[in-house]
């Protein structure tokens, strides 16, 4: 019952919501309004931001930024998805809504090259002296990278 109500509420805001399984829905939101929608969800009890991660849909030439949010009172998990074009990977920061978003955004920036407008520090957390393509992009070739950096060959160069 709770889930159907939530989906109705989200539909009335013009969002595309769909149930995945018990206690879990996914929502696709446009890049322009997603901060307002996250703020709305936070105000109705979705107070736990579990993670922010990126997905590279290279065939559709788009990145997806996924916010995993959860309500401790409703016990519903929302997979909140925002698509942005691959050529211009810029999205608004949500550091003002959740403090820990600072570090998740740094991580997504580091591994996908997505810029978060309003995040003051997008320095690298994990990679050191990295000048290559952001490594979790689908067009980053790990084998070529290790051949160039370490001179290593698959199967020691045999076959």
């Amino acid at each position: 019952m709770k889930i159907t109500n939530l989906i109705k509420t989200l539909h009335s805001r013009g969002l595309n919501a769909e149930k995945i399984c018990e206690g879990q829905i996914k929502v696709s939101v446009s890049k322009d309004s997603f901060v307002n929608d996250l703020h709305f969800l936070q105000s109705i009890g979705y107070e736990h931001l579990a993670n922010i991660n990126g997905v590279d849909y290279i065939n559709e030439n788009e990145f997806e930024v996924v916010y995993q949010i959860y309500s401790y009172s409703e016990k519903i998990h929302i997979i909140f998805k925002v698509r942005i074009p691959r050529e211009e990977p810029v999205i608004q920061s949500i550091v003002d809504l959740w403090e820990q978003a600072q570090f998740y955004e740094q991580e997504v920036h580091e591994f996908y090259g997505i810029y978060f407008e309003g995040n003051k520090d997008l320095s690298h957390l994990f990679l050191e002296n990295w000048n290559d393509l952001p490594p979790l992009r689908k067009d980053f070739n790990t084998e070529q990278f290790s051949e160039e950096l370490f001179g290593s060959k698959r199967n020691g160069g045999n076959k």
Partner: protein
């Protein structure tokens, strides 16, 4: 050649006669938990500001998982948390099962629960020992590592592996428990329970522990909910939140247990929280052994080596000994995952709360602060 910035981090500042300096509190420090580091800007023994220095453990698991088969990845995921590996396996399998809409057999649910809780025992034993060792009280660390080995022996008998078990697979578990396993497990639990009063006497009733831990690293009830803390850290601040109750998985819906909470919100409350959950875990395993039904341990999904997962996405989460382990998996219908994103429980504490708590703290409290918050670097630096 590569040029690592880290080498220049320990240099003393020249201008103010060595009273302010940068201290590289890294993997070479005996109080550090794992291959992680903080660059501490110190004034004497007091911390002025802190900069996390992660990346020394980065192995690119999320990228590797996109290049390996669905079942091959099971050998990678446990390595995301060394002390408590099973929640990773289970969360990964649960996400796959959610996408494929598979229900696992009842006996497999119980076996999963037993491995999860045994894994929690091994992790809590390190936490209990670590709470003492990071204050210079090494006895409980020696005891707890010896006790932990008894649980590892049981793991070896059940799964073949001591530290990484790779026991859970999509659709259930790899094999049934060997004959006589539950009887021996019961004896191990009885032994572990008989040890608890010893830990209480040396650690939790020790006035020095009380003095050092009380008031250290306070987190309020609301802040804990807002900033993404999970598991024992959340409950030690008075929140009645437990994924095992809120979004039940495996055999937890059939088990009878309460959510333990503390009200203190400081390092002492978190240490006591771990100690109480340790006792509760023993009871949960005993219940599982009593209730476990006979039957299959694995739903048939065909040849697992050539497993194809239907296109879709799901998020699955498990209550580990440190908090919420979440796996967000996207499948495009192929032999490999399209994307696996891991949510580890330590990031909010290791990065955000480090910057809130560490300034004005003394250097000698940093190790115990990390220990009681359960910061396990591999789960964010993965």
């Amino acid at each position: 050649m590569m040029n690592f910035n880290s080498y220049s981090l320990t240099k003393m500042t020249k201008d103010d006669k060595d009273t302010t300096y940068d201290l590289f509190f890294g993997p070479n420090h005996p109080g550090m938990h794992g291959n992680f580091g903080y660059v501490l800007d110190m004034v004497g023994t007091e911390i002025n500001s802190v900069k996390p220095n992660a990346g020394q453990l980065h192995r690119g698991f999320e990228k590797l998982m996109e290049q390996r088969g669905w079942v091959q990845n099971l050998t990678l995921v446990p390595r995301i948390c060394v002390m408590d590996p099973d929640p990773n396996e289970v969360a990964y399998c649960m996400a796959v099962e959610k996408i494929m809409n598979v229900e696992i057999p009842e006996r497999a649910k119980y076996l999963r629960t037993i491995t999860l809780e045994m894994s929690r025992l091994t992790s809590h034993l390190i936490s209990i020992g670590g709470a003492g060792a990071s204050l210079g009280l090494y006895t409980p660390m020696y005891w707890s590592m010896a006790d932990r080995d008894r649980v590892l022996d049981m793991f070896e008998w059940l799964t073949g592996g001591r530290v990484y078990h790779i026991y859970n697979i999509p659709g259930g578990v790899r094999r049934d428990a060997p004959r006589g396993f539950f009887k021996k497990l019961n004896e191990t639990l009885d032994y572990l329970e008989s040890r608890i009063p010893e830990y209480d006497r040396v650690l939790f009733e020790n006035p020095i522990i009380h003095k050092r831990l009380k008031g250290l690293g306070f987190v309020s009830k609301e802040d804990a909910r807002k900033t993404g803390l999970s598991g024992p850290n959340l409950r030690a601040s008075g929140n009645v939140i437990d994924i095992r109750k809120d979004a039940p998985y495996a055999a937890y819906p059939y088990l009878d247990f309460d959510v333990i909470t503390q009200t203190g919100g400081d390092a002492f409350a978190r240490a006591v929280q771990i100690r109480k959950e340790y006792k509760q875990t023993l009871d949960i395993i005993r219940q599982c052994i009593k209730q476990i039904p006979e039957g299959e341990v694995h739903a048939s999904l065909g040849n697992l080596g050539m497993l194809k997962v239907t296109p879709g996405e799901a998020y699955a989460k498990v209550e580990s000994s440190k908090g919420e382990f979440g796996y967000y998996i996207v499948s495009d219908g192929g032999l490999k995952p399209y994307r696996v994103s891991v949510r580890g429980p330590s990031l909010p504490a290791g990065f955000l709360w480090a910057q809130k708590h560490l300034p004005k703290m003394k250097i000698d409290d940093v190790a115990v602060w990390m220990g009681t918050l359960g910061i396990c670097p591999p789960d964010f630096d993965k």
